[in-house]
């Protein structure tokens, strides 16, 4: 009896401590937000001002991302993850598409690119109809929702070495990396998003999320160039189970992996042709972990 009482008190205490930040987000007042209105953003030689993005946000974004940027706009309730991920909660200051290391804030350029690119397989549209200035202003407005952008600096963009020549050796080596760091656990050995963990994946807010299916022909959310794909697994998609592999994969190996991923994708590519020629088989999930 007493044991359970203590356990309950501890549990409640812990719950209270952990929910403190939640309470402060939930109670974020208009006044708090207004005080952050001086937020600026810088992309290239363009400076954005939060206030100048407000009208466009109200017209274009609010229905999904909410008046307070909490991702709770009028239509958010109709988005059913994993097929329709919920709109991003900007107050958390956690973003999927970053050039910066996992856990850090994205750069203004990252947010600008995300807005211009849109997110495939989600409700987030491609906002390339705005002028550059309008988009940079929107970036500042998006940032003003999160206290993180006041207290922290964005991370430093990771270095991406120049892209090497695609060779059969590199595609084969990429397959080894794919096997070693166990991308297949979520993405499946053929890249069809059917790995053993795939069906139970959840994002940090406890919502179901699907791993990326390489074979469907759809674009990765954070960009489709070789550099983008390099960046995706070397920085991770924060807030999702898609981790950063910066500590497990060396830069040169990372390029090998990019080439192997290309060979899994539906679009014709040099890598795909090489893999076919080599008769590359999907990785074997039961193979003993290779020693390094």
């Amino acid at each position: 009896m007493r044991r359970s009482l203590i356990r309950w008190s501890l549990f409640l205490l812990a719950a209270a401590v952990f929910s403190l930040p939640l309470v402060s987000w939930a109670q974020l007042t208009k006044a708090d937000l207004d005080s952050r209105l001086k937020m600026e953003s810088h992309v290239g030689n363009i400076t954005g001002h939060a206030k100048d993005g407000a009208a466009d946000y109200h017209r274009y974004c609010e229905g999904c991302h909410g008046v307070r940027g909490d991702g709770n706009g009028e239509v958010a309730q109709w988005f059913d993850p994993p097929n329709f991920p919920k709109p991003r909660d900007f107050q958390l200051g956690i973003f999927k598409c970053r050039s910066t290391p996992t856990g850090t804030l994205p750069t203004d350029q990252d947010l600008y690119d995300a807005i211009s690119r849109g997110f495939d397989r989600s409700g987030m549209p491609i906002w390339n109809t705005f002028t550059k200035q309008e988009r940079v202003d929107l970036v500042a407005w998006v940032k003003h929702f999160s206290p993180r952008f006041v207290s922290e600096k964005p991370g430093t963009a990771i270095q991406i070495p120049p892209e090497p020549e695609v060779t059969a050796e590199r595609v084969k080596a990429g397959r080894e990396v794919f096997a070693r760091v166990q991308c297949w656990k979520c993405h499946g050995v053929t890249g069809e998003a059917n790995g053993p963990s795939a069906s139970t994946l959840q994002d940090d807010l406890g919502r179901p999320i699907a791993a990326f299916n390489f074979t469907e022909g759809s674009r990765p959310k954070c960009g489709d160039t070789d550099q983008d794909i390099y960046r995706i697994f070397m920085t991770g998609l924060d807030g999702t189970p898609m981790p950063s592999f910066a500590d497990n994969i060396k830069p040169d190996e990372a390029w090998d992996l990019v080439f192997y991923l290309r060979s899994l994708m539906r679009e014709p590519s040099k890598e795909k042709a090489i893999a076919q020629q080599l008769g590359l088989k999907p990785v074997d999930p039961n193979a003993p972990a290779p020693t390094q």
């Binding site: 466009d56 017209r59 229905g63 239509v75 109709w78 849109g118 495939d120 409700g123 549209p125």
Partner: protein, 505 residues
């Protein structure tokens, strides 16, 4: 409800021969409400977007909405195919507008004394009527059948509930994965940057762009009306961000009429090009040009004196060309400009071209002789007949106070630069176009003014509702009632005040 009928009636050479009929028709035209546009809560519901994301104020599109449309009603986010929709989702939207309006038009009336008629059309009076009224009903349905294959069908009624198909088309988009290859087939609105079907105005004369429908007085060419939905095939190409857009259409010269009742073999082409520029804080600016060139029949074979539908030959040419400009001055103010230089072949100027005088839905109304002028073999143009030409411009300014409140103003003017009945026309001779002698240089000139506002009390992704208030004055030289003293036509002035609840779901 549908402008095709209205404008066709309005500009029918038959009616313009009789100013009284013309005036009555103007009243009828206005009473029948104005044409409708594409505002689709069905799309908003599908994508979870608010109206304001695609519409500056519905149904008028903004740049994002234009891109969505150009992509074949797709966001291009890999969730466009119907498989991603809830199976119970049905892409249908209806729109109707109960209104109160007050119309005022000058007109010939009979005179009476002591209970006895003393004259027929012997005075001019201003007939003003006001009351509650209805627009017609629009049933918009459209969307993707599969990724990059879409459709749009719009059955539309007049205020009495008589339906026709305003828009019917199938589309193939992004052929070979390229945004430069899109094909549309059916009956659709031409690729006008300033869309008439999406105008924010509702009055009879303010709800259409005069520049898109102008026809010289007595002219028989009804086929050059860019504002009417046309039957044909359209190619559209655009850059990924929709900054550059081109289009070319091949159309039947039928002004959208079905059943092949017009020329036996007459086609028109419509070309557009526009380019948008990034102007920083001001927003995206767009400049473009269009050309509408076509041929239409002037001679219809007859049976017992009545023209045979679909028998038209003796094609003559016409053209309309001009510039577009869309200028944003920040998020609150924008100005749209459309210019036009138009020209019709002299045969059209004399009233040839539309002997069928249809009611707009394929049924021929001229079933008994005499029908409108017909270019029978051996017919000669009257001495002094020349190709009518004119210049026009439309300015539309919008002040967007917020996505929920918009103020609007339009000024249009159409000016004849060459009349069909030139100075060499025989004085006192009444030509086939019903006009006697050389025409005054300003005959048919139009000035059109409209102001209004639309207030949307709420803004969601589910439905649209607007409180609408508008005032229009339409003025045309020499098409009003005949002066009781000189017998000559006076100027026509029509005004309309309208208040309405415009809603769609």
């Amino acid at each position: 409800m549908r402008i095709d009928t209205q404008s066709r009636l309005f500009r029918n050479p038959l009616s313009l021969r009789y100013p009284l009929t013309a005036a009555l028709i103007v009243v009828f035209v206005i009473l029948s409400g104005s044409q409708r546009a594409n505002a689709l809560p069905a799309f908003a519901r599908k994508y979870g977007l608010r109206c304001s994301a695609c519409h500056e104020s519905w149904p008028q599109l903004n740049n994002f909405g234009l891109k969505f449309r150009d992509n074949g009603y797709q966001l291009m986010n890999d969730h466009d195919a119907p498989i991603w929709q809830n199976p119970s989702y049905w892409p249908v939207t209806f729109r109707i507008t109960p209104i109160w309006h007050r119309l005022s038009v000058n007109q010939n009336v009979d005179t009476y004394a002591g209970g006895v008629q003393t004259g027929t059309n012997s005075a001019i009076d201003r007939i003003s009527s006001s009351g509650f009224d209805l627009s017609g009903l629009d049933f918009h349905t459209g969307g993707t059948l599969e990724k990059n294959i879409s459709f749009y069908v719009l059955p539309s009624s007049d205020p009495t509930g008589a339906f026709h198909f305003e828009t019917v088309m199938g589309r193939l988009d992004n052929l070979f994965g390229s945004p430069w290859l899109n094909i549309k087939f059916g009956r659709f609105e031409l690729n006008n940057l300033l869309s008439e079907k999406r105008t924010l105005f509702l009055t009879g004369n303010g709800g259409i762009y005069q520049t898109y429908h102008f026809i010289p007085v007595g002219d028989g060419n009804i086929f050059g009306q860019m504002g009417d939905n046309q039957l044909g095939l359209e190619y559209v190409g655009h850059s990924v961000d929709d900054r550059t857009r081109i289009s070319a259409s091949l159309l039947s010269s039928s002004d959208g009429n079905v059943n092949l009742i017009m020329g036996a073999n007459s086609y028109s082409e419509f070309f557009t090009f526009d380019q948008a520029f990034d102007a920083g804080k001001l927003g995206v600016q767009r400049l473009g040009a269009y050309a509408f060139v076509g041929q239409a029949a002037t001679y219809y074979k007859t049976s017992g004196g009545v023209p045979i539908p679909g028998s038209g030959i003796g094609n003559k040419g016409f053209s309309r060309e001009g510039f577009y400009g869309q200028f944003y001055f920040g998020p609150h103010f924008d100005l749209n400009v459309v210019t036009q230089h138009g020209q019709d072949n002299a045969w059209f100027g004399q009233g040839y071209g539309n002997p069928i005088a249809t009611n707009g839905n394929g049924a021929a109304t001229c079933t008994a002789a005499p029908c409108p002028p017909n270019n029978f073999p051996g017919t000669a143009l009257p001495v002094g007949a020349q190709a009518p030409s004119w210049n026009g411009v439309t300015f539309e300014a919008r002040y967007v106070y917020s996505p929920q409140l918009i103020f609007l103003a339009v000024y249009e003017t159409e000016r004849m630069s060459q009349q069909a009945n030139g100075s060499g026309y025989t004085v006192g001779f009444t030509g086939p176009n019903g006009l006697t002698g050389p025409s005054a240089s300003n005959l048919g000139n139009i000035s059109n003014y409209t102001i209004g506002y639309r207030y949307n009390p709420f803004m969601t992704s589910r439905a649209g509702f607007a409180w609408h208030n508008e005032f229009n004055i339409f003025h045309q030289q020499g098409t009003g009632p005949a002066s009781p003293i000189s017998g000559l036509s006076t100027n026509l002035t029509v005004s309309e005040l309208l208040l309405g609840f415009d809603f769609d779901f």
